[in-house]
Symmetry: C2
Subunit: 223 residues, 2 copies
Amino acid sequence: MTERPDTPRSRRERPAKPALTREGIVAAAVAILRAEGLQKVTMRRLAQELDTGPASLYVYVRNTAELHAAVLDELLGTVGPAPAEGSWRERLERVLTAYTAMLFEHPSLARSALTARPSGPHYLNLIETLLALLDEGGVPPAQAAWGVDLLLQHATATAAEHSAEASEEDWDALRSTLRSVSDRTHPRIAALGDALLSGAPEARLSWALRALIAGIERTAVTD
Amino acid sequence: MTERPDTPRSRRERPAKPALTREGIVAAAVAILRAEGLQKVTMRRLAQELDTGPASLYVYVRNTAELHAAVLDELLGTVGPAPAEGSWRERLERVLTAYTAMLFEHPSLARSALTARPSGPHYLNLIETLLALLDEGGVPPAQAAWGVDLLLQHATATAAEHSAEASEEDWDALRSTLRSVSDRTHPRIAALGDALLSGAPEARLSWALRALIAGIERTAVTD
DNA sequence: ACCTGAACACCGTTCAAGT
DNA sequence: ACCTGAACACCGTTCAAGT
C-alpha cells in the first residue's frame, strides 16, 4: 500500500476537472465554435474538451440541435442594444443588420437556427426590441407579430446562404449558367444578365430589409 | 477450365447491373428520397443501391451537396407550369405556393437548397416565370432581379423551418416560454401573447408572400 | 477513363453498469 | 442522480491499384 503516490498525471496536466454543468458545456461549445467552427462542435469533441465521455453530456443537453440553439442564444448576447438615434426605420434596419453581421461570422450556426430556433433570454430581448420599433412606427400589432418572424427569418436565411459549403466555385457555376442562357427560352434572364447576381451583400441586405419593412407596414392580416 | 459455369449469383439476383451515369445516380437518389427521406440519401447508401462502392460515385458527383442540389432540380420539374388565370399577383402567389408545397414534403431538401442552390434547367424555368410575372406587374427590372431572390429565399426558408428536426416539443417549449414572459421586462411580447405564433402555415405564407410582393414593388434599388 | 476495395478519420446516440 | 466505457450503426472522402 503506497501512501500518497506522485500526483497523478491528470492532476498535473489540467487544473482539477470541473464539475459538469449546462453552462459549462455551452461555454465550452462557444469556445470550440470560435476557434474551429460549428462543424467541430460535436458531442464527441466537446466531451473530449471537457475530459469526459460523450454519454455524459446527454444529462444536460437533449441532443446536438439543442446544443447549437443554446450556443446561438449565447452569441446573441454580443449583438448589443438597440441604437438610440435615427428614425424607427433606420434603427430597425440597424438592429437587424447587427444581428445578421453576427451570424455572418458563423453561417453554419445560422443554418441550424433556421430549424432549431433559440428560445433563450437573448432571443426574447431581440424580439421585444423589434416589436417596440414596429410599434413606434405605428404598425398594427397583428402585422408586427408576423412581421418580426419575417424579418428574423430573412436575416437568418441570408446568413445561412453564406455558409462555407456554398463555395466560390458553385457561385461561378451559377453565374456562367445564367450568362449562357438562351434568350429564346429564357428572355428575361438573358435580358437581366448580371443584374440577378449584382450588388454587394450589404446593399442587397439593406434593400431587402427596407422592402420587408415596407411590405409589413402595408399588408393587413385578414383572418 | 470450366466453360460456361452456372450463371453467377449476381446475374440471377438482379437484372444485369446497369452502367453508372449521372442521370442514373440522380434517379436512384430521388427514389431513396421518396422512400426514406434525405437523411438516407448518402453516398454509401446510394452506392449500395447501385451495387457499387461509394468511391465510384465521385466520378459523376463532386460531393454530397452537389448531389442534393441535383435531386432538388429534379423535383422542381414536378411543380407544374405557371397558372393562366387571375391577376399577376395571384398567379405569382400561386407559383410560389406550389414551389413551397413541394418543398414542404421534403423540408430537409429545402435546408440544403439554402446553401447549395440548384442551377439546373427546372430552376432556371422557375426564375424565368417569376421574372415574367413581375414584369407583367410593371415592377422595374432591377427590383425584379433582387425580388426573385427574396421570394425564393422566403419560400425555401419557410419550408426548411418545417424540417423534421424542429420537433413538436421544441415548439411547445417556445410557446410556453413566450407565454410565461414577464410584462415588466418584455411588455410587447406579453401583450401580443399567442399572436406571435398564431395562424395556419398557409395563412402565414400567403400573408408573407403578399407583403414581400408589396415591398418589392415599392422599394427602389438605388446604386 | 472509369471503377474499386480498403482505409482514414470521424459521427450521434443508447445502454448496462458503476458510484 | 449522475457519470461512464463500450458498443451499435453509421458517415464523407481519398488513394493506390486494377481494368
